[in-house]
Symmetry: C2
Amino acid sequence: MADQKLPTRAEDFSEWYNQIVLRAELADYAPVRGCMIVRPYGWALWENIQQALDRRFKATGHVNAAFPLLIPRSFIEKEQSHVAGFSPELAVVTIGGGEKLEEPLVIRPTSETIIGYAYAKWIQSYRDLPVLINQWNSVVRWELRTKLFLRTLEFFWQEGHTAHATFDEAEAETRQMLEIYADFAINEAAVPVIAGRKSASERFAGADQTYSIEAMMGDGKALQAGTSHNLGQNFAKAFNIRYLDRDGVLQFCWTTSWGLSTRFVGAIIMVHGDDQGLILPPRLAPTQVVIVPIYKTDEEKTQVFDAARKMRDALIAAGVRVRTDEREGTSPGFKFNDWEMRGVPLRIEIGPKDLAKGSVVLARRDKPGKEGKSFQPQQGLPAAVSTILEDIQAALLTRARNFRDANTKEPKNYEEFKAAVETGFAWAFWCGSPDCEAKIKEETKATVRCIPLAQTESSGTCILCGQRSTEKGIFGRAY
Amino acid sequence: MADQKLPTRAEDFSEWYNQIVLRAELADYAPVRGCMIVRPYGWALWENIQQALDRRFKATGHVNAAFPLLIPRSFIEKEQSHVAGFSPELAVVTIGGGEKLEEPLVIRPTSETIIGYAYAKWIQSYRDLPVLINQWNSVVRWELRTKLFLRTLEFFWQEGHTAHATFDEAEAETRQMLEIYADFAINEAAVPVIAGRKSASERFAGADQTYSIEAMMGDGKALQAGTSHNLGQNFAKAFNIRYLDRDGVLQFCWTTSWGLSTRFVGAIIMVHGDDQGLILPPRLAPTQVVIVPIYKTDEEKTQVFDAARKMRDALIAAGVRVRTDEREGTSPGFKFNDWEMRGVPLRIEIGPKDLAKGSVVLARRDKPGKEGKSFQPQQGLPAAVSTILEDIQAALLTRARNFRDANTKEPKNYEEFKAAVETGFAWAFWCGSPDCEAKIKEETKATVRCIPLAQTESSGTCILCGQRSTEKGIFGRAY
């Protein structure tokens, strides 16, 4: 496979994606159809995503816990929309310890039900509220068409579940978590996202309101990259989650849930990658800097290795995630290509000439060729490297934002709309009716990704039916 | 339940344990028999355990990854001892997406098989070795008699899986991980453990050699608290994990696996807890210090809260995990008991008199009553607190070690042996025969917990049969 040429994104975006995932050793196929092995490089990226999110969750008062992966099948049936949405996707355990189970168990497709059961036990009084719990785990949904990271039978994610005394508090929590996702996407992953409300047809099964962040991939298609749900009192009523209020009256709680998954790794690949491979945003990259020693003789090797390791240690001390590539029997050129394919943001080349001059060559991953190369004195290297990494981070965000904006049109009519969603997003008024939504989907394969929270105009006419409309939606074809 | 009296350890150790787990809100029962919900306080403890271990794993070159939880049933059958050991404990998925599966899938009881499959794909040459991967996840084993943290259908753990070019390297890895577990147990959890080799009958299903760390609980029983396995070439042969050596010859790899689970939380509870509740070692405690404000009037409350929060912020800045208990409507006495039950290592009491004197009262959890109380100037408090926390950490280890040593006997004959294992450990020569091992177990309910790596004498006679023996074992009744 390594000998095969990587297709360009223009040639075959989907195959380019698959090959990047495999070649960069982010993930591999599992023996069970549709399951995924997340390899160490991919998992290190996910761990950095986890830390960036977990920090934000804890700063806003959330705590982590762990609920079981096995759920009685009857639990799924307690909330009407939930069972309709998830029943077709369940993995069912019917045998345990060699015996047929009296009641089948399902592997959690999501944990609202089992957490509802627990909250009903734990919550008695308004003093117990709010309950703000998150968990990092994996869930199983029997998907038919799968793709590494984007849609797999088992996927890794976090799911937050909160309970509140009032609708307003639940709504504020739902929106707060949406903002946290958007902040994470933009400021850690350099993925510009649009935060908005989902249409009724795209709501989570059991939610009163679903919000999402939506990103544009390198092929102009949309990826839903995180969701936050206001569950109203639906699960509270299904699981009897109640509390005594200050007046001693028993009330149902208001609950929320919100999740972001390993799908986000797919977003990073498809937003930033180029025809040479992956490009990782420095704040999340497992390796931010790779040092490639260049030498011919043994003597040169000793000197160059020695300098490279000192440089590495100085960078580590400055908080940079760095490694030296000391592989034998592979040329510097091979190493350059290899690390470019793996998306390491910055490369340091050091050879005997550099040693003599007291400098090194820096090569930025985001700017191929000469444009991204610079000489840097070895003196003061850590500070210079940190500055360049920040600059790469900012440049990736700007580039992704420019790409999205260039591929987002404000069509004046339905013909323009149809042309727009061929290659990107259309930002258009929509009357809100499921009929128009369905017809647009049928005719253009585009769906309303979300109704952005930030609206610029207060009224217009529906792009399809022409009726008076109060909100614009972002439309696009989606992963 | 909160009104019920906590039984003393002497009255009913098992019930004391159960109630501590529930009352301290470490965990709760799940709706599925034998499963466990790890509540936020218990999970925060586990997160600290994870960090302490993960740091050690990464410092020794290991990386994390994630393998799927669903394994084809046929995989389990590829390694002969493995299938014999795990078949009776499997949870089997027979339905996916509404349809009966052609091949049933099992939820991983452990991941040697699926990782063996992956390593066979990934490893080609000696250049690819060693492979040093760990994963944090949960596994399912259909246990019949369950107890929160100690034995549950689903439990949380880490499982390390490595592949090497030679037996010696695999054995060195197996021993290194055992040492890491022992170092963690002793220096982070203040749990003195004995590191040793398991007898053949207690080996992991598929291992050539199993090592473990064994700890003595507060009732004198043993708990296996972590295991490390040298798997020889068993899994390499079952899954065809081979590499081309430097001479171009195809060789089977040598593999290892090692794991430590949420069972360790049970060890911490049973080693350190007392009749008032939990006692957590400061290095792992989610909350190391709780500040309880004492006041009567509103004016006092304002002043005391203000001082308490400043103190909290100063302690946070010094790296101490601290919280103030600002609950309304509960007395200081209630709060003292509550935090004692939850095992917070150090309490700070601050009231108007303390404010006037510029001091606070410190109360150590490990020394009840006056013995553990001291006055401390508010000036320089963070440094004093850090010192006391270190002192508590050391005192807990000393106390646990003294308890274990006092309850470990070196019996001269079988009668003394039988008496010793009634209340603790017996440290005795054993000929190594499975017959003696089985007879001892039948007659005394004690098993050889491990054959300690540190042996003090080179020969003696078997405690049961009197035959010449070269090694002493640690015997005890086990959880």
